[in-house]
Symmetry: C2
Subunit: 242 residues, 2 copies
């Protein structure tokens, strides 16, 4: 089994993911939100790239008499007119979400899902559910690409740490996986920081931007490892379910 | 001073290098060869992408009565009809190189130089001359991008270790450089392996391919840190001199 890691949506070329099992990672916060929303009642998530697409889709669902939830962010903040922001805490213990469809637009996570279209299977991963996604990928028994969403098509440390954690887990589970250079390097980087991930993150721009906006409770939540058994996946209609 | 690192020619978008001081790194072996050839008598190197370009250019120079040296590699091996291969040892203590122009085509290094065209200045760097290039970049006093050539548009460990070494040196020299997430991570990766770089490289595909081809003496040579004070640079005619 081969294991590769891409560092951004732009780095995720079709040949890097074709026919493989892919995990899309956007720890701060898109994939952490998706996992949390599905755990707390949302039935399916439709990822779209633009705000306009989200608004048009909402109108179409409303015309059909179906209520939908709109969520996501621009520059980490709630989009005007949307129901929910991009904080996992906004999707917890909220009866109004039960059974609903969510239309979601985020800057980087949505792009990374789109870039992975040629994959055999696309799973939604974060630190929260890393172990469950790794187990599913072991069952698939295909070559694996861990796709870091990054930020503005650049590497971000939090996604790399999650990919490194998953590469390490897959290495332990398989015993003989064949890692690419970048996969070994990011796995080693995770081992370097696994005891105190915030030590590394304190130098990261994304982490500091979120801290400055007061999202420290989101960061603490998103850095929890393996607390969820949920394995969301992207279906044929390009909706996230599971 | 901002310091960024790109992991391959494809990752080196114009905006990542525009108006910056750029160091192009291809440790195994293009930039190590360039530094060595210039130290041993070659006057200038013309980097070209294809074998055909190299052959056409040679014909044009020969028509002018100027003798040139052709060098480079495809799949790490000498190109049929070329004068020299891509081993630094082929360019040492060789009187016939004195004052000559060299036409060079390599798979990844040449692409990375091309991808850096929008830079303020492009320097040729490897472990051999890392300290001298860092000093020159400090004198430039511009934002810096360290461009790893990679291999087939993917990350390779040896280039990352050199970029990490340079990021660490620049950090020490400036005291207050602002590193991007990828720059911090690759610098940390270098610190992890600095005492035994081969420990990491033993898992790297490019290293193992070269070892299998019998290039262990090239590897030992290319991994020497700071033994050259030469700072080759790319001039207005897109030739490498210095």
């Amino acid at each position: 089994m081969k294991i590769d890691i891409t560092i951004s949506a732009a780095d995720t070329t079709p040949e890097r993911v074709a026919d493989r099992s892919v995990a899309v990672i956007d720890v701060f916060r898109a994939t952490s939100v998706m996992i949390t929303a599905l755990e707390h009642g949302i039935q399916r998530i439709i990822p779209v790239i633009t705000i306009e697409e989200a608004e048009n889709l909402r109108s179409q669902y409303m015309a059909l008499g179906e209520e939908v939830i709109t969520g996501g962010e621009r520059n980490a903040l709630k989009i005007p007119g949307f129901d929910k922001d991009n904080s996992p805490h906004s999707y917890m213990n909220n009866m109004e979400l039960e059974g609903k469809t969510m239309i979601m637009t985020t800057t980087n996570g949505t792009r990374a899902v789109n870039a992975s279209r040629s994959a055999h299977a696309i799973y939604i991963a974060a630190m929260l559910n890393y172990r469950a996604v790794c187990s599913q990928m072991m069952t698939d028994n295909r070559d694996i690409t861990l796709v870091c969403s990054g930020r503005e098509n650049k590497f971000t440390l939090e996604d790399a740490l999650c990919a490194g954690l998953m590469a390490d887990e897959l290495l332990l589970q398989t015993g003989n996986a064949e890692l690419s250079d970048i996969a070994w390097s990011i796995r080693d980087l995770y081992l370097l920081y696994q005891k105190d991930m915030k030590q590394g993150l304190k130098r990261s721009r994304h982490y500091n931007d979120l801290m400055q906006l007061g999202f420290d409770y989101d960061i603490d939540y998103c850095l929890q490892r393996g607390i969820s058994d949920r394995v969301p996946w992207v279906n044929q209609q390009f909706q996230i379910v599971g």
